[in-house]
Amino acid sequence: MQRLFAARSVCAAISTGKRHCASFSTALLFDDTQIQFKESVSQFAQQNIAPHAAKIDQTNYFPQEVNLWKLMGEFSLHGITAPEEYGGLGLGYLYHCIAMEEISRASGSVGLSYGAHSNLCINQLVRNGNPAQKQKYLPKLISGEHVGALAMSEPNAGSDVVSMKCKADRVDGGYVINGNKMWCTNGPVAQTLVVYAKTDVTAGSKGITAFIIEKGMPGFSTAQKLDKLGMRGSDTCELVFDNCFVPEENVLGQEGKGVYVMMSGLDLERLVLASGPLGLMQACLDVVLPYVRQREQFGRPIGEFQFIQGKIADMYTSLQSSRSYVYSVARDCDNGKVNPKVPLNLNFLFLAFLGYLYFFFFVPSIILQILVCLLIFEFYYIFSCLVIFNSFCKLKFIIIW
């Protein structure tokens, strides 16, 4: 009977391209409910998202025949940290990280878009929105009917995001925004966007205000979708603001206090998005483990050779240690012990994130991708070292983005 089911699953795997899932030890990381939660999301992601993963990366689009946003919304995945009155689950960052990991395991692109939607947009609204704003925007975002996005970076403001040039001028009843935002994930498809602009150009970081922008607002448009080397399918584009009027009630938080919204959000965003590479690492193991048992050279499965065993042991160890770190930080955040400096250490994991950002199995230009990812790795390694050094020595605060 076991073989009947195994045969069925193998046939299903071959026809849908589903990967065999390797199991791993989570005994000390999660309690029973969290393990159940993880398995449930894993099953959902493997059955509903993984079959589309290869096509998403090839075509650089989300699938047309199935609405993944709505599917994930129906499975209550978007509003994990949102209150139940808006359709959320009212849980903490630990659960959000679990969901992010399992979705990224099925497809990195979908995971990235999901993270931008559920954490960058939804969670920012949950943390900083007033009741009217939450009531207006959260229900549709959480159900998956609307897609959310966040925009802070500009063509000339990346790591030094506080130097942004996008201006918001005070007018009667609201503000008029002029400027550009770059690299906005979900930009092409989002209905609701959190955008940061300078209301006071002379005040440096204290002149930034966060706004809620709606698709269709006159003066707001999206420019070309970016054709990325990796994480394809996670729509990214440039946002253009040309005398875009934003009403008073769309200010998120308070005027001039946008930098607090941004920085506190970034800390938690790094935590949740750090689970993305965990999922990607797990996906690598899922493929590698059965392969080293099947592939034979010199008359034996290659998994019997010590060098390969060493590599796999390294992969497993780095995955488990990264996982332990991410989830213990998540647990601390849930228990209210949010040290803004600690999550910055997760930039190390962001290295893996960016390293994997351009890593995709089946594309022939894999050598090119690996070279690119190594370059990015190098760059961000240096940067992260500076940040971590600064966080401990309390010198000038460097912002990473």
């Binding site: 409910t33 159940q36 209550s76």
Partner: protein, 251 residues
């Protein structure tokens, strides 16, 4: 009407089975366990009947070691209202399970008892039939369709049999065992997983139910089937006949 569903914790269907070195059984240490797929189908059917308004409560039952509670929690997360765990160590063969189920039925008094047709670890296909016999209830096994008529207290069951489909009409209370094509089980949704934490699981022991666990069966040895040998190309019909007669011994 209450529905009772019996669920079993088995080795996950996707796991590659290994026989223990001492040949007393299959390796279950550090192996992924989950709910028997046919039991999932049984639970799904019970939940659908409840959602259509024909039943008031779904009670999930599992028997075995303390880890059965995990499987019960999954059942509760799928939507069952309550769980019952009969704590028993050691091997539980179908007749013992049937006797325990009979005792529980006498306590809970459900109108319908639904089970999977067989478990994927032992493939016995006996428990449902035995418990129906012990209770003196009608049984509809290998069900591929179940329609309940609450007014007349009748269940119409389509059974998958060798010759095709057979339709039976059963007076309630009855025992139904489920086959593969009955339904597609639901996922445990995330809100339900959180709600399941607060649902009750009641514990019983075989002594409390006045059932003595003993077996007339003893597993002597478990071995792997012989490895499949490569095929042989024969050069003539005579050689084929010779091999069929003298090697394979089939003619």
């Amino acid at each position: 009407m209450k529905i009772m569903v019996a669920i079993k914790r088995v080795v996950d269907y996707a796991v590659k089975i290994r026989v223990k070195p001492d040949k007393t059984g299959v390796e279950t240490q550090n192996v992924k366990m989950s709910m028997n797929p046919f039991c999932e189908i049984a639970l799904e059917e019970a939940l659908r009947i409840k959602e259509s308004g024909l039943a008031s409560e779904v009670v999930a039952v599992s028997m075995g070691t303390a880890q059965c509670v995990d499987t019960l929690r999954t059942g509760l997360a799928m939507g069952a209202d309550r769980g019952i765990h009969v704590e028993a160590t050691g091997a539980l063969y179908p007749l013992s399970v049937a006797k325990l189920l009979k005792a529980l039925v006498e306590v809970e008094k459900p109108g319908l008892l639904i089970l999977g047709k067989q478990a994927i670890d032992d493939d016995c296909n006996q428990t449902g039939q035995m418990v129906a016999g012990l209770l003196g209830w009608p049984q509809g096994t290998f069900a591929s369709k179940v329609v309940l008529d609450k007014e007349n207290q009748v269940a119409t069951v389509d059974r998958e049999v060798d010759g095709g489909l057979e339709t039976l009409s059963l007076d309630l209370p009855a025992v139904i065992t489920t086959d593969l094509r009955l339904n597609q089980p639901r996922y445990a949704t995330l809100p339900n997983i959180m709600k399941a934490k607060s649902k009750a699981i009641k514990k019983f022991t075989p002594q409390e139910l006045n059932v003595e666990i003993k077996s007339d069966l003893e597993v002597v040895q478990v071995t792997e089937p012989p490895k499949r040998k490569a095929g042989v190309v024969v050069s003539s019909v005579d050689e084929l006949l010779d091999k069929l007669k003298n090697e394979a011994h089939v003619i």
